[in-house]
Amino acid sequence: MTRLAPALLAAALLSAAATSEAWARSPTAASRPDPATDEGGLWSSSDRAEAEARTKAELDADPVLTGYVRGVACKVAAEYCGEIRVYVMDRPFFNAQMAPNGYMEVWSGLLLRVTDEAELAFVLGHETSHYVHHHSLDAWRAARRRANATMALSAVVAVAGAAAGAGVGGDAAARTINDSVNALVDVLYLAAVASMFAFSRDQEAEADRLGFARAVAAGYDPSAGARLWRALQAEAGHSDFPTARTEEAVASVFATHPVTAARVAALETLSNDRPAGSTDSGRARYRAAIRPHLADWLRDDLRRRDYGRTLHLIDRLAADGEDPGLLDYCRGEVFRRRRGDGDDARALAAYRAASAAPDAPPAVWRELGDLHRKAGQTAEARAAWAAYLARAPDAQDRWLVEASLKALARSGQP
């Protein structure tokens, strides 16, 4: 940590106090607000959301990863460490959010796109700043103004469901329709909950500034925040979908944290104003923490079918030459699934590159076999499939590969 860092943090916090003085949360003020107040209602909603998060299928159960993320949060917000409860959710979108009761979600799509600990520290500092300055209370009040419309719509949905349930024959049919209606009501409720994290642009800019200050005060690289936001914008520019490419802002699934050019420029100015000095990026620590999850998270990302984005992401992850077997395999998977002109050749090249790396998954050789067979290269197909079976003797598709080998032998091709 540099000697200037505490002063910078203090200055940033004082600056924020000019706009948020009445709302700055003190570290000892974690006591529950009066339930009769709107803030008390917000806490109740946060409690419910946290209780649901604990049961969600997407909750990542790895205590080591969760402990690591919480540890970084505590580095940038030491005075609130006792109040922060981190939940890593395996959702392939860039998002993090912190509720006023101290419950914080960090999504795998964010962890996959953050490339070092300094970038994660900036994001967590940003979220902590929303928390410290009660930004969600303003959003909650705006959401409550919209709540009348939402409640009215919920009532329409429920009444329509009840009427339909009464009008069809048989209990099973009635349950079927009512289940569907209940799912709709859930969607409306979740939309209302999500809106508590729909911050204003001013709040986002403030959280950027304070998050920057917190990360720098903890000794992290000052350029991390701007670098991350630029990377997100670049990734969006590589999207297969025109709507994603042309949006000014990069948005999460709930559009809670739009990243605009103005926000990037502001962070670059803050970073450039910092004197040069020794800082920590924590890249090796960060990669070691997420490495056990890389394969699963990349598979989730592939299922989004935005292949341009995934390729850009893989290139960023491969920048330092780490995990070459897995990343080249995933590159091959993008080309295999995309099936564009020339993608077979690109996939073959990627799988071949992966096969030269010690961390290549066995599936590399199965895919090589399939591509060689498709190209009529039977000897190469046989060799690749044999290599796959040797590397994955208990694979569930062993019989299928063996059948393919027998079919090749029957064909009599060399």
């Binding site: 949905v157 009427a163 069809v168 024959g169 329709i177 289940d179 994603a244 079918r305």
Partner: protein, 196 residues
């Protein structure tokens, strides 16, 4: 309110109006035709295809206790470029059937389609050969979770004939509901005869 949220609410209103004109029909025990494909139901089911978002052609949805407790998809010859799960929006696209998929990619197509329906942590296991009418096919089990964390079990049978997909897919909560209908579904799968 953002444009996507407006669209979501508009969709919710439209879907809410749907049940008023929905028709749930009985699928009685015995031979049951789905397009050109025939299966034999061992007991009566309810045909709730009307609840399928977008009502994809060639896809029939049956249930006994409601779609959250058991759902049986019978797909009659899905053509090139068609989806099992209709897209909820323009982005991202849902998985599309391709007539040149390898057997492994056929399994991947089903798993990705189940994920596109909103299930989490979709995995396939126990891949095994199956004979579907006179066609070589595959059968495999599925493990997944609902977003709420409920364990889901499934079994799928795929066969490709004339470049089209003939699929039977059963999904139900692992606790009680999957096992309660597993034998019935195995019987339905064994009885399947893809159409021409």
């Amino acid at each position: 309110m953002s444009a996507p949220r407006w669209r979501a609410l508009a969709c919710a209103v439209l879907l809410a109006a749907l049940p008023a004109c929905a028709t749930v029909t009985l699928a009685p025990a015995g031979p049951y035709a789905v397009g050109g494909q025939s299966v034999t139901l061992g007991r009566s089911w309810s045909d709730i295809s009307i609840l399928l978002p977008g009502r994809p052609k060639n896809v029939r949805l049956l249930t006994i206790d409601g779609p959250l407790l058991n759902r049986l998809y019978i797909v009659d010859g899905l053509a090139d470029g068609r989806a099992l799960a209709s897209p909820a929006g323009k982005d991202p696209p849902t998985p599309r059937w391709r007539s040149d998929l390898s057997p492994g990619e056929q399994v991947e197509f089903v798993a990705d389609s189940v994920a596109a329906m909103g299930y989490q942590r979709v995995e396939t296991k126990d891949l095994r050969p199956a004979r579907v009418g006179g066609v070589d096919g595959l059968r495999f089990n599925i493990a997944a979770k609902t977003t709420g964390g409920l364990d889901i079990s499934g079994v799928a049978q795929v066969a490709e004939s004339g470049g089209r997909l003939f699929l039977i897919l059963f999904l139900a909560p692992t606790e009680h509901y999957f096992g309660a209908q597993e034998a019935e579904v195995e019987g339905i799968m064994s009885s399947a005869r893809p159409g021409g």
